[in-house]
Symmetry: C2
Subunit: 115 residues, 2 copies
Amino acid sequence: MSSIHTKIQLMSNHQIAMGPGKACLLEAIQLKGSISAAAASMGMSYKRAWDLVNIMNNSFNAPLVSTLIGGSKGGGAQVTAFGLQVLTQYREVELKANAVIKDEISALQAMLAND
Amino acid sequence: MSSIHTKIQLMSNHQIAMGPGKACLLEAIQLKGSISAAAASMGMSYKRAWDLVNIMNNSFNAPLVSTLIGGSKGGGAQVTAFGLQVLTQYREVELKANAVIKDEISALQAMLAND
DNA sequence: TCACGCTATATATTAAAAAATATAGCGTGA
DNA sequence: TCACGCTATATTTTTTAATATATAGCGTGA
């Protein structure tokens, strides 16, 4: 059995400014309220998650994620209004693109080996 | 300065069945008539090019590239009719997708840091 | 028949990416 | 004031990807 799916990445300066992984991470941060909890929920190391957040924050002209150090819960992170705007825009890109190439993808799917 | 572009990959069995790199390689093979010449023209090792061809041939239910061993020119490779069909379909997917998300991409472009 | 240039494949080396580990710093609340 | 949990960062280790190198085999044409 072989499934097929498209993967849309926004490249900037030889780095992935936004892609499926970073979009998921943003959603996990929204849900969990911290980078470390988001990373854990995705089975990802904190360092990697932090690096991805760092790339996002540096790729765009404003942070997508804001962080807080210290406090009752030790700190935390949240997706900024700007981050949500980027995330929404990205998900819309995915939806629109996938919708318009649906037929061609089906045709390619039929050409794939089924093992 | 930062440019932005989308990258559409067709995943199958945790491998990239078709993407920008493999599409370029197919076009280079079409042009050069061999895997080794195509690889050289792309600054890629023969082994890597052969591996990519192998992945393509195994991902789909028929070879995209056919090869010839021996002969006057030592052998060679060419994109099959099926391979051309897949390539054409992929390029069409890219064109249609990029066309429909043009506005959203411009919006995201404007959000990118300009360094 | 033999040199040529390509495919095909194996192995070893190098480079890059990811994960693991460690540590410092912060601010709240007990 | 001190433990807690998170951010931030550095360093090391492990894993993965890519390159380099080597070798066998093939069929044509000189």
